[in-house]
């Protein structure tokens, strides 16, 4: 039952085939059973059960709040949740219980959703592996899938199976793993340079980064304010559209949200492909792109072409500067945003209190990991008066050029761009950590980041399994605020590719904590 989509479980709830409490309990036990994935930092068992009971009461009275009523969801641990610990996977906020909820969280709760817990991430969302948080790395559920394990045995990849588990990608790896391993029906991530789409692609789920300004960031603990967007992770495109319909819209608490009212939409299965123009950005043939992903990308293009769509090679000449440009803009904003963590009002405070300055320094050294501190240092360097023109202003100009590339492409009749989401399928943790966080982020965000620079909506759709039996996703980038068109195309594509469902029997063999009767209950 847990493997169905949000839409299907919503129907099941409405028809009384399952009760919200039962559903919640099942998810909670499954979260515990899959604890070794490390997808969740906090399991909000008590509040979740309470919410489920309230939902059940509403179903009983026939007064449900919406499509999400009774649906178990998970939220990345960089969104504030009133009364529930919010850590950003950092010592700085360990034990921090916020007094308010992020607007997106509140909107989910207002629709009756059941919040199961807070998902793991890289510290303050800085990373592309979900490996750099204080609670340890997230394991990709596909590590334990039958699809991967069978191939691995053939290729004798797994000699020491415990050290060969795969990373989820990041930084919303916990949310991606949670949706992928069926512990929840939808999860919130955040997306600054690809942090929703990258793990979604690696975990074989749908990851949507909406247009900047469509969804409120109020309560999302920021990484880069000018690029952060709450992301949506679901099992299918339809589900993403449902969640988007709940979350989108102006928020007076976020001045960067657009005032225009947002009308939720349902996606049609049918599209007139002959009226569709798909752009293939040639610059995305980047070094490091795996031959498998490249092949899949061309196959996808052919798919559209064969359906009658116009498929055109386009150029986004400035995208190649995106990574280096992002490095400057991101670290500058990080330096600024992290300044508030001084140990005075909230969060970690060092016991070294000889002077205010000593306490600041010790607090920040103890509270932040090397990655965060490194970005703060670079960012402050770029913002120094003597460097501001050379780095920050220049990076802003480059950002404008990158955004203009998209404007030009869309002005010339392109409806949606089709690109890879990642260079390749995911890799084992032991491989991943051979490079540092910065190198990894630079490599892994290469296809996703430009959409953040330009504020455009983008979605990754799981497309096929690699030779290793691991998911590969492809990305669609749409025009600003044209989510309906983007998701319609994505849904059509999803229907064509028929991505196989993860077979988690392998996970059961892993035998960490799962006892037999649970196994039969969940996978019957």
């Amino acid at each position: 039952m847990l493997r169905v989509s949000l839409r299907e479980i919503s129907a099941a709830l409405k028809e009384g085939r399952v009760s919200p409490t039962e559903l919640c309990q099942r998810c909670l036990s499954f979260i515990k059973a899959t604890k070794f994935l490390n997808a969740y930092i906090t399991i909000a068992e008590d509040t979740a059960l309470k919410q489920a009971e309230e939902s059940e009461e509403r179903y009983r009275r026939g007064q449900i709040l919406g499509d999400l009523d009774g649906i178990p969801v998970a939220v990345k641990d960089n969104f504030n949740t009133a009364g529930i610990e919010t850590t950003c996977a950092s010592n700085m906020l360990k034990g921090y219980i916020p007094p308010y909820s992020a607007t997106v969280v509140q909107k989910l709760l207002d629709q009756g959703a059941v919040l199961l817990g807070k998902t793991n991430l890289d510290e303050f969302a800085m990373g592309s592996g979900s490996t750099d948080g204080i609670f340890g790395p997230v394991r990709n559920p596909w590590s334990y899938s039958r699809q991967y394990r069978e191939k691995s045995v053939q290729n004798s990849h797994i000699e020491n199976e415990d050290s060969n588990w795969l990373v989820t990608g990041g930084s919303s790896g916990g949310s991606a793993a949670a949706v992928s391993s069926f512990t929840c029906f939808a999860a919130l991530g955040s997306d600054t340079g690809g942090s929703t789409r990258n793990p979604a692609a690696h975990c074989g789920v749908v990851g949507l980064k909406p247009t900047y300004g469509l969804i409120s960031r109020h309560g999302l603990i920021p990484l880069v304010n000018s690029m952060d967007v709450p992301g949506i992770l679901t099992r299918c495109v339809d589900d993403a559209a449902i969640v988007l319909g709940v979350l989108a819209g102006h928020d007076p608490k976020d001045s960067t949200t657009v005032q225009d009212p947002f009308k939720p939409f349902e996606l049609t299965s049918f599209i007139d492909a002959s009226k569709l123009c798909i752009g293939i950005p040639k610059e995305y043939h980047a070094p490091g792109l795996s031959s498998e992903t490249l092949a899949l990308w061309s196959k996808a293009a052919d798919l559209f072409e064969n359906a009658g769509a116009k498929v055109i090679e386009v150029s986004l000449p400035h995208t190649r500067y995106s990574i280096v440009c992002y490095h400057v803009l991101c670290t500058a904003e990080v330096a600024s945003n992290m300044a508030r963590f001084d140990g005075l009002e909230y969060g970690h405070r060092s016991s070294m209190d000889k002077s205010t300055e000593v306490m600041y320094a010790a607090t920040r050294r103890e509270g932040f990991n090397d990655v965060v501190r490194g970005r703060i240092l670079s960012g402050n360097y770029f913002l120094l008066k003597q460097n501001y023109e050379t780095y920050f202003i220049k990076a802003q100009k480059v950002r404008r050029l990158i955004a203009n590339d998209f404007v030009n492409v869309f002005r010339n009749g392109i409806d949606v761009l089709l690109t890879p989401t990642t260079l390749s399928d995911t890799i084992p943790y032991v491989e991943f950590i051979k490079e540092d966080n910065r190198t990894r982020s630079a490599q892994d965000d290469i296809f996703t980041q430009a959409a953040n620079m330009a504020g455009l909506p983008a979605i990754t759709v799981p497309t096929a399994l690699s030779e290793k039996g691991l998911p590969i996703g492809l990305q669609f980038i749409g025009r600003a605020f044209q989510e309906q068109q983007l998701l319609t195309v994505a849904k059509w594509f999803e229907n064509q590719v028929k991505f196989p469902m993860i077979q988690l029997q392998g996970m059961m063999d892993h035998g960490h904590t799962i006892c037999h009767h649970q196994k039969s209950a969940f996978f019957s």
Partner: protein
């Protein structure tokens, strides 16, 4: 007399002999022009440069004034703004910079800034931007202040102010200082240092309150000029209601940039004088600093580009603890606030919600009469001297008092003003009272002046009577007090038997009721 009242009301202390303020009676200068030598001005008697025959020193004073915006809520949050509330009782999540909170601009604060900009003849920028200014301080919870560094809401204005010059301070001149810009920014919280327990307590009530920073060009050359300009600005803000501008409550805070140089030479190195928290000390602090710099240079020293604090007990400026050498504020655009767009009637898009836009023309049409206009009207309407109109506006509530008296008396306003400025105001000053605390009501004074006008009492009697109401029961009208016959002028013989007064003893008082 009027001039001395004016000076007193400006709260400018008299310059000591040799105080350099006396040097700078020349015309106000503009930075755009080459500094005009003002050697024609009087020289300080003990200025060594003067004695040696070298060109005298010229001082250059610019001001940065922070005016707290009078609004119900803070600049970017919904918390209330209130003076002297219990510590940390007016703090929203945003004010405490809880992670994930975002600023939402308060429209009222924007309107106050636009209003002030218009009153100071500024051009209002239809698009302005917000920036972050970073520094670590315990009462700055976010680690940065949101301000308008690149493109402020108002620029290129001017402020005219008047002051008395001349040997006897009896000549009134009007000068103009250019306003560089007005920017919106957040106030910080307050740090309370407990030296005994060596700890700092933070009160965030003030954190995030809206400020207008008014930057004045260095067009002034003495403490007296600076004080007069600040006083005029204060009056304008209070008239507009954009700030209560009470210095004692920190609603108006002045920092002065001061430098000295020889005429014709480049400007000297400037210092910034902070902590000037009262109008009284403004002129003194600046004049002290000018004098200090001159002495320093005369003695072969140099002036350092530093921040100095005025110590009002010692009456001098002292270098402030240098926190981290030269501060680099690492300015950055505030990414959470879109550009602030203002409209005029022409550019106002159709179908806009008027609650969501600020229309400059609409604000302009509703500007109240500014102090300068009010003064002209007073002079025209009542035939009083211009100096008198200054005094009437400078003292809070005095103009209303004057107009009330004039309305209720037959006496010529020109005469009324003398009574008010010379006698009543002198009396109030003597007892350190504000106009609103005056035991002499406007009605009382009007009655009194009517009696005087009719010749019922003498002016010395009226004078005496004015003092009488300071007694606790002093609210009785003058006609009753006139039962004291010694004050009456003998208009016609009155045969009031002595018994009629003296026979009313305590025991018989009841029969009189």
């Amino acid at each position: 007399m009027a001039a001395s009242i004016l000076r007193r009301s400006l709260l400018i202390p008299r310059c000591r002999a040799g105080d350099v303020a006396a040097l700078h009676s020349g015309p106000s200068r503009r930075r755009a022009q080459a500094p005009e030598p003002i050697a024609s001005g009087r020289r300080a008697g003990n200025c060594p440069a003067g004695e040696r025959g070298v060109a005298p020193w010229v001082a250059v004073v610019g001001l940065e004034i922070h005016a707290q915006i009078s609004s119900n809520s803070k600049l970017f949050s919904g918390s209330q703004v209130q003076f002297a509330a219990p510590p940390n009782s007016l703090v929203s999540f945003f004010d405490a910079s809880l992670p994930g909170t975002l600023p939402a601009l308060n429209r009222r604060c924007v309107e106050a800034a636009v209003m002030t900009g218009l009153a100071l003849n500024c051009s209002i920028n239809k698009k302005s931007l917000f920036d972050r200014k970073h520094y670590f301080y315990a009462d700055l919870p976010a680690g940065y202040q949101i301000t308008q560094q690149r493109l402020p809401v108002a620029v290129n204005g001017s402020l005219s102010y008047s002051l008395c010059v001349g040997g006897k301070k009896n000549q009134m001149v009007t000068r103009t200082v250019r306003i560089k810009q007005i920017q919106l920014e957040q106030d910080s919280g307050k740090s309370l240092h407990d030296d005994i327990r060596s700890q700092t307590l933070i009160d965030l009530n003030r954190a995030g309150v809206g400020l207008m920073e008014v930057v004045m060009e260095p067009d002034m050359s003495s403490g007296e000029e600076a004080a007069a300009a600040v006083r005029e600005l204060q009056l304008i803000l209070q008239t507009l209601g954009s700030s209560q501008a009470i210095m004692a409550e920190g609603q108006l805070r002045v920092d002065a940039n001061v430098s000295v140089h020889h005429p014709g030479e480049a400007y000297g190195v400037r210092t910034e004088v902070k902590n000037i928290n009262s109008a009284r000390f403004l002129a003194r602090a600046i004049d002290y600093e000018i004098q200090r710099q001159i002495k320093e240079l005369e003695n072969g020293g140099t002036v350092m580009n530093e921040t100095r604090a005025f110590d009002y007990k010692l009456g001098c400026t002292i270098p402030m603890r240098d926190k981290e050498g030269k501060q680099d504020y690492r300015f950055m655009p505030e990414p959470n606030l879109p550009p602030l767009i203002l409209y005029d009637t022409k550019s106002l898009p159709a179908n806009t919600n008027h609650q969501q836009v600020v229309n400059i023309d609409w604000i302009r049409e509703r500007l109240p009469d500014l102090p300068s206009v009010r003064r002209v009207k007073l002079v025209e309407q009542y035939g009083i001297l211009p100096e008198h109109s200054f005094t009437l506006l400078n003292e809070d509530g005095l103009m209303e008092f004057f107009e009330n008296v004039v309305r209720q008396t037959q006496m010529n306003p020109k005469k009324v003003i003398g009574w008010i400025l010379n006698d009543m105001l002198g009396y109030l000053k003597q007892y350190n009272l504000k106009v609103k605390e005056s035991p002499v009501s406007s009605l009382f004074l009007a009655d009194l002046l009517n009696l005087l006008e009719r010749g019922t009492i003498s002016s010395s009697a009226a004078n005496q009577l004015q003092v009488v109401p300071s007694a606790p029961s002093g609210s009785c009208p003058p006609v009753l007090l006139l039962l004291e016959p010694s004050l009456l002028l003998p208009t016609k013989p009155r045969n009031m038997p002595a018994a009629s007064r003296s026979s009313v003893g305590p025991g018989q008082a009841g029969s009189l009721r």
